[in-house]
Symmetry: C2
Subunit: 431 residues, 2 copies
């Protein structure tokens, strides 16, 4: 069975120029990989008609059997993806009256949110979004734009099937799944071989060292050559992603085992669960609070990003100002004066203080120097103390975090969650 | 003067598969646009050698005079961008001993952060990263990977100059600016016509309405046809970006004037300054605190994302649990029982309460239903009350925000900053 190739095309001046950060391209690429496609690439182009057609031609030239597009389906005239796909597939555009009706209903519902509303602009948008290439399969809109599955009109010409999806992720994702149920996609999926994916998550080792360990282990693992391995750093963590065909499941498992033995403390997730999921699980039936200085609320924000976090998250005290550390967290003026705000003593007092103030069993605290100003030779930018309180005692650890202000804050947040995980499980902190 | 085209190539399985969100591609595209290039597109491909070369060929085929690559310069064997560029430019790789020395020094410095460190892996990385195409201009590393400027070896063949940059943004950005100073780039820049960019920022009107207003105004503006206009929604705001050649500066100004007249309350920034910048400016010499429920700390995190925010940000109380609203913010149990946590009364009490607790002159609060659970017919998911306190009195406004949990939280955060801006300026709230 030869590889079936697919490509992703993201359109829009706003994405090209960085006003909007695209997450659809990588999301689609990952779904396509899981489904067994070989992904030729992601292309991002502006809203020029000829550029969109050119990108479609290039995917076709690379032998792609499928191209998924994102964006360019909006109501304004600069959104031209449907027109480009119609031309590429040699199918004229025509008005779908049923669809026009459905979009109208959705637009009217959305219009209620706004005080000022222009009815003429509304109707114009409506009509434009209901123009579809003849013979295309329409996927009912989740927002106002429909999805489309379009095959080339001319029979005998080898050309990719094009799935056209709107840019907003909450519309794109369900419409992509619906597209998979259409006959052209079902036909393609009979030819692909899905790969399984296994993610091992590490905290506290450099990427080069993990890579060296994987190389050393390779020879001893039967079937290692069938594994496709990538390692990715994000939010201060290191993920090892192993993709494998069913026949190499044993090899994937053997590698995971060997790495768990080599890095027992650093490998914190062997089944793909994220730190956030593990923390949420460990906190079930408990209560937690955070005391934050340099992270400014990021630890609380990350904990509450999960639905259901109100079951264990009491709240946070962001004590940016030292007076707040004293008044709200009960840190003593003497401790602050003797050790400075970025110190073991203050980190511990903050954690204990917030647990008491918010009546939480567990607490973590962060106090550090995120930069760019504020560093000293003894406490350079990136110096962060993470504190913890488990109801019985306090602990704290000092980290030197690399990166700019945003990176230091994000890594400190990740480190605080790791400490919280250890506290909730009654384990040793990982640093 | 005909347009000089440029392309951006982002390499890496981790970007293609979504493990890392690429922000380099759009950043580079925007810089290239400002410098006067026409951007053909951004391509993202995996770490396969043939795919990278194929993408370079496609940019060449589209007439690009410049391609900037991001990523694939790491120490591990799966990073193959330099090798691909060397082949594309027909220049063999050779070891740059000076560069090897520089990288070694940087690696040794970085190594100190880690407890366990493998010296052999270090040396191997070092050598790989010092291999450069013969005749390339080397840009000294900011991290451990150097940047490169490579022209095609064969004279007479029309082929793009390739600028090779490492993936980490804090390395890529300064190296890009250095690349502009090299002779091949200076030569290209004599042929481009830089465009100016003007960004108008709106809050509280739908995109379709702004688009309709721009269309209506177009005829009355002399030189309107020279403007290139895009509108972008992000974080619950709407940006109108106008790019123009120097000759059309008057037209850009006239459009900005006309829109300011039409949307006096919604147009909050006419010079590109962001909401965050305006808030920081308005808070100079003041003090502020936040009380947050559904945003979980996001407002505090956003305020403290800016260096120097300690001058005005006292702190935040994240009162996720109602008991915390009562105990730390002084919201009365009776008010909570009578109106519910998501109500005008509670929003106002939270703002006033945090101002008092943290001794701040100004305060904003957020209490709402971010979903997916917790909605009712009277208070559906997306119902958010934003409260404010200015030292003299409290106010609050109810918003119905669209989107999923993350979007509702982000839009609520933006709305809270808009209210804070109005409070700091002594103006009417914008909603």
């Amino acid at each position: 069975m030869s590889a079936v190739r697919a490509g992703v095309l993201v359109t829009g001046d706003e994405v090209l120029e960085g006003s909007t950060v695209d997450r659809n391209g990588p999301w689609l690429a990952q779904r396509l990989l899981d489904l067994g496609f070989e992904v030729a690439g992601i292309a991002i182009c502006g809203d020029r008609l000829e550029d969109i057609i050119s990108e479609l031609d290039y995917f076709a030239a690379r032998g792609c059997a499928l191209v998924v597009t994102s964006g360019g389906l909006g109501p304004t005239d600069d959104d031209r993806t449907v027109e480009a796909v119609a031309r590429f597939c040699q199918r004229p555009l025509s008005l779908d009256s049923d669809l026009e009706q459905k979009i109208a209903e959705r637009l009217r519902a959305a219009a209620k949110r706004w005080r000022r509303f222009d009815e003429t602009a509304l109707q114009r948008s409506n009509r434009k979004q209901a123009l579809v290439p003849q013979g295309a399969t329409t996927l009912d809109p989740v927002g106002t734009a429909p999805g489309l599955v379009v095959s080339v009109a001319e029979t005998g010409r080898s050309s990719p099937v094009v799935v056209v999806l709107p840019g907003p992720p909450r519309e794109l994702k369900p419409l992509f799944e619906r597209a998979l149920e259409t006959p052209p996609l079902r036909a393609l999926l009979t030819r692909t071989r899905p790969l399984s994916r296994r993610t091992l998550r590490f905290f506290g080792i450099p990427e080069s060292q993990l890579a060296a360990a994987v190389r050393e282990l390779a020879d001893a693992i039967d079937g290692y050559q069938q594994l496709r391995i990538g390692s990715y750093v994000h939010r201060g963590e290191l993920d090892l992603v192993i993709r494998y065909p069913t026949s190499a499941e044993g090899a994937a498992e053997a590698l995971a085992e060997a790495l768990a033995e080599r890095f027992p403390r650093q490998l914190f997730s062997r089944d793909g669960r994220t730190l956030d999921e593990l923390v949420a699980e460990a906190l079930a039936g408990r209560s937690v609070a955070t005391a934050e200085s340099c992270t400014g609320g990021l630890v609380g924000a990350r904990l509450t990003a999960r639905p259901g976090s109100s079951a264990y998250f009491r709240g946070a005290i962001v004590a940016y100002d030292n007076a707040v550390k004293v008044r709200e967290l009960g840190v003593s003026e003497a401790t602050l004066a003797a050790h400075g705000a970025v110190s073991q003593e203050v980190a511990e007092a903050m954690a204990q203080g917030v647990a008491r103030a918010l009546a939480a069993e567990l607490a973590v605290s962060v106090t550090g120097i995120a930069g760019p100003e504020g560093g000293t030779p003894e406490k350079p930018v990136g110096t962060v103390w993470i504190g913890g309180w488990d109801g019985a005692g306090a602990c704290a650890a000092r980290l030197w975090l690399p990166g700019d202000r945003a990176e230091v804050r994000e890594r400190a947040t990740t480190a605080a969650l790791h400490l919280l995980l250890a506290l909730a499980r009654g384990e040793e902190p990982p640093f």
